[in-house]
């Protein structure tokens, strides 16, 4: 029984989750130009909000998902408004902002485990048998299918917003050069907060999907942000299209790599790839050489 189609399916599923994270991560990185750890905690916040609304209060699933995304986005906006905006006014270096984002990350993660204990929770109760689909011998559940479609949709809509709308042009201007865009009258602070909001919504969504597919626990954030960052570097940091491509490349390399080497080396593949790209092609596939 040939397992290649199953490996391809696994890679696509992993790739689409990484894609959502990478899209959000890149959007935020593009505007702020530093490695931000906060989105990791936002993924957990998204997942836990849905868990609280759907599992604990039993509200409608679609409402809880939308609420989860908005709450994650709000926390992203809040972190920019209270901390990063101040740091930008101090002209703080991006290493200072990195350490600050690390502080917020640790704090949010600790608060979640205080509120929800550090138990592992599965969001979708699986009593009813999950409907699985079969394509060319590769099986996947409707949740995984939904993740794949949403990540494609998120990518397309984001690409359209950036290209067509005036908001999109302003976002690209700020990503290129914050000072210049200040001069030509863009209220960069407000815009960056909006970018934070959208980026955090995307990452919150990825946290929610991980919750549906696998489950959530407070310490899920660190690995998510590292995978997201790796995918963005491979694709081209700050470049939204690059992040999307890098995510699927990472998914494929990770899953096909396992064929050759034993499973326990799986995280080594992702970080090995990260180091290789950092040294030989730091600007990633999509960006031109800086």
């Amino acid at each position: 029984m040939n397992i290649i189609p199953q490996i391809v399916a696994n890679s696509l599923i992993a790739g689409s989750i990484y894609a959502l994270i990478a899209l959000g991560f890149n959007l935020v990185y593009g505007a702020t130009r530093f490695v931000n750890m906060v989105p990791g905690a936002l993924a957990a916040i998204g997942g836990y909000t849905v868990f609280f609304l759907f599992n604990r209060l039993g509200l409608n699933i679609y409402f809880s998902v939308i609420a989860g995304v908005v709450v994650a986005g709000f926390f992203g906006y809040l972190s920019d408004r209270l901390v990063f905006r101040k740091l930008r006014s101090h002209k703080a270096s991006n290493l200072v902002s990195f350490v600050a984002s690390l502080g917020i990350f640790t704090m949010l993660q600790a608060l979640i485990s205080i509120l929800f204990t550090s138990q592992f929770q599965s969001v979708l109760s699986v009593t009813e048998n999950p409907k699985t689909y079969q394509i060319l011998g590769a099986t996947f559940t409707w949740v995984q299918g939904l993740i794949f479609i949403t990540s494609i949709a998120a990518f397309v809509s984001l690409a359209l917003i950036l290209k067509k709308t005036s908001f999109g042009k302003a976002v690209r201007a700020v990503s290129d050069d914050e000072e210049v865009s200040k001069i030509i009258g863009i209220n960069t602070n407000r815009l960056i907060s909006w970018i934070f909001f959208i980026g955090s919504c995307l990452i919150g969504l990825s946290g929610i999907f991980i919750g549906f597919d696998i489950g959530i626990n407070p310490t899920m954030g660190l690995f998510i942000i590292l995978e997201g960052a790796t995918a963005s570097i491979i694709g081209g940091i700050g470049n939204v299209y690059g992040g999307f491509l890098g995510a699927f490349l990472l998914g494929f390399v990770e899953n096909f790599g396992i064929l050759k080497i034993p499973g326990e080396w799986k995280p080594a593949i992702a970080f090995g790839l990260l180091i290789l790209f950092l040294i030989f092609k730091p600007e990633g596939i999509m960006n031109k050489k800086k």
């Binding site: 740091l87 704090m107 608060l111 790796t230 326990e264 970080f271």
Partner: protein, 288 residues
Amino acid sequence: MAYLIHLLILFAIYGILGLSLNLVMGYTGLLSVTHGAFFGIGAYATAILMTHAGLNFFVALIVGLVLSGVVSFIIGAILSRLSGDYFVLGTVGLNYLIVTVLINWSDLTRGPLGIAGIHKPHFFGLSFSDTPAFLVLSLIFLALTFLVARFVVNSSFGRALKAIREDQKALQVFGYNIFSYKLAIFTISGALAAIAGALFASYITFINPASFDVMQSVFILAVVVLGGLGSLRGSLLGALLLVIIPELLRFVGFPSEIAAQTRQAIYGLLLVVLMLYRPQGLIGEYKL
């Protein structure tokens, strides 16, 4: 009182780690999140040499020092090419890689089972098995590390490091091969961290890969950032505060189930407040 001695031993270990990281971060301006791995390499080198090869602690320490120096040379060679955000991400990636190697190379490191039964150091009949004696030994090593660090910092090499921190591009033009300087400071800092690793392995008598992961590197980073970048005494201060104060929280009667999480939350808040109001740390001079 034995508990305070125990904490002071940990202070000495984290003081050595803080000093060695400050050389790379405070003086050369490289934000490295891989120091936990150097700490681990030193611990594992000593533990393996003492348990498998039955070497005396001090011999194992020296061999461990050299081994970690070689590994940090290789890592330095890889990382010194990167700069800014890429450097930070590169160090995080390498830390993960090294921990994965420690977990999976099970015939050398016994993988997740860790290495147990590492006995205390003894030196021609003089045994350091009880904690006060071990504290004296650790403080001696801390003093040695401090002197080495001060020697390096006050030398012309140290001044060049600060210049790399300030303006690497300009310094090149005046005849400095930046790559070899970064490589040298990485090796020195890695070797010094190995001392802390050896002390940790022999004091706790059991090590496993989990205690040398990215979170450990973040803790060491916090020690340096809190104490102050570019100030050796600052790293000692940072180590003292971040080892002692969390233990105080054990006595503040938090209900036991949230005591540990509140510590994490306060520690995260500390980082944020520091970065907002005092990025150069308590008694540091260099703003990151």
